[in-house]
């Protein structure tokens, strides 16, 4: 799992390459925790290169979204591939989290 963080207009864009499963979920969680601890509560997860997400990954996203909200921020998600989009749709995450088709849309929203 490769995680890259960049800043864009005060929003921390976290890009993932690989898959988020039980093994990689702690790594993803740590990446978000580090940002939140540093006071960066406006987060955007870019899943353009994410091939798969498991329940552990969904749990991390949900926990991060809650924590970010508590810090007056939020977690947006963008660029989901077909498989991940379906997981989001069927599991209900598409309505729990703010999901956008492109990074630009997410940054401008």
């Amino acid at each position: 799992m490769e995680i890259t963080t960049t800043e864009n207009n005060g929003i921390q864009v976290v890009a993932f390459n690989g898959k988020i499963d039980t093994n990689t979920a702690p790594e993803v969680e740590q990446a978000f925790v580090n940002l939140l601890d540093a006071g960066q509560a406006h987060l955007l997860a870019n899943f353009e290169n994410l091939s798969f997400i498991s329940s552990a990954g969904l749990r991390v996203l949900l926990a991060t979204a809650k924590k970010a909200k508590l810090q007056s921020g939020g977690l947006k998600v963008c660029c989901l591939n077909e498989t991940v989009q379906e997981v989001f749709d069927i599991s209900g995450f598409a309505t729990i989290l703010q999901v956008f088709a492109t990074q630009e849309e997410a940054l401008n929203a």
Binding site: L58, R59, L62, D89, I90, G92, A94, T95
Partner: protein, 441 residues
Amino acid sequence: MLSRFSLPDSLPKGWDACLLIAILISITLVALGLVFPAIAESSLPLLYGVDLVCWADLLHKYAQRKGQGPGRYGQQLGLVSLLITAPWELIFPSSSLVEGALPLLWGLRLFRLVQLNAFLFNYEVISLQKPGLLRLIRLLINIAVVSHCLACGWLLLGYMDLDASWMNYAGLQLLASESQYIRSLYWTITTMTTVGYGDITPVLDREYLFASFVMLVGASFYAYIIGNIASLVGQLNASKAQYQQRAQTVTSYLHEQKVPSVLVNRVQAYYHNRWEKYRNFNEDDLLSDLPRSLALDIKTELAHRLIQDVSLFQHASLVIREHLLAALQFEFVDPGSVIARVGERNHKLVFVVEGTLDIKFQDEIVGHFGPGEYFGNHSLILDEPRTASVVAKSYCELMYLCRTDYEEIKILYPEFVDVMKKAMADNSEKMSDLVLLGVVL
């Protein structure tokens, strides 16, 4: 000629009841008219009215059957109805007939008893509600009508030779006509029921013959009544007896296999509750006789609560809803039944129609699913084993959608994913709480 008239597609409500009453009036008056000419004369307009009603019914049935063949009812009624509803008195005026022929033509209307039975039998067949009760009503109507006709026949024999007949010997010739009819009816019933007090007895040969005939009719009716009542009582209990037998077989087997009594008691309680709720009916078995579209309409009607309460159905289009209903499998479960187990990969969507389910996660109850809610979408889409168990807290009505059906619907109707998405939005808070706990269902 018929085509000139536009017959209504359906007769007015209550038409069948009118027809039944008309036929009963006709038989009663015709039988009395054979004995009392005054009644025959005064009731002629009424009888023609009844004839008209019967003609209207015959024409309507003809129009309905046109192009479909006569059908069973039509076959039974066609010729008989034509013969007995014809206004014979108008076709053959009394002057053109040999003496005695007119009463015979008049008496033809007594064959309405056949029409009456065909009508009642047909009603019994098409009306599936309380067939036993309808059969009993048919039986009672028949007994009443036949008794009346035989009483009139017996009275007629008495009038044929007042001085030498049974009426003279019974000392009834000076009584009023009503009383004579009542005595005659009394004799008919005592003879038919084989009571035979002996206060009124036949005197002439023809009376002996008639009395023998009445005895035979009575004996046949007796056999018919006893047989019917036995059959009705048998039918009333057949369903329950069959159910009890099945429940007993299962519990006996469990006892035989030394299954713990707690479990056996659960089985017995389950059977008891199932009987209370559904009797001995199995929906899938019952609907398997019907064409698919009709079965689907009935399933939709039966699942109205599910459609009303479950958001998935509310968001689904009619075709998706019908496909879902056709694929759903029903189950009635008792308290303690495990609906989903930790580690299980038997992926299916479970809908709660009635009752409450407990969500058990790491030996703790972390939530419930109630009517209208469903679960199974997470493990289904993520293809992960369940991390929690779901156990019935009360008697529950559940419906399952298995993975293969889910996949099929998704392929056939890609918009189904949007439906799921909308449905999940209605339940998102609860589901997110469960996901945060680590519950995958």
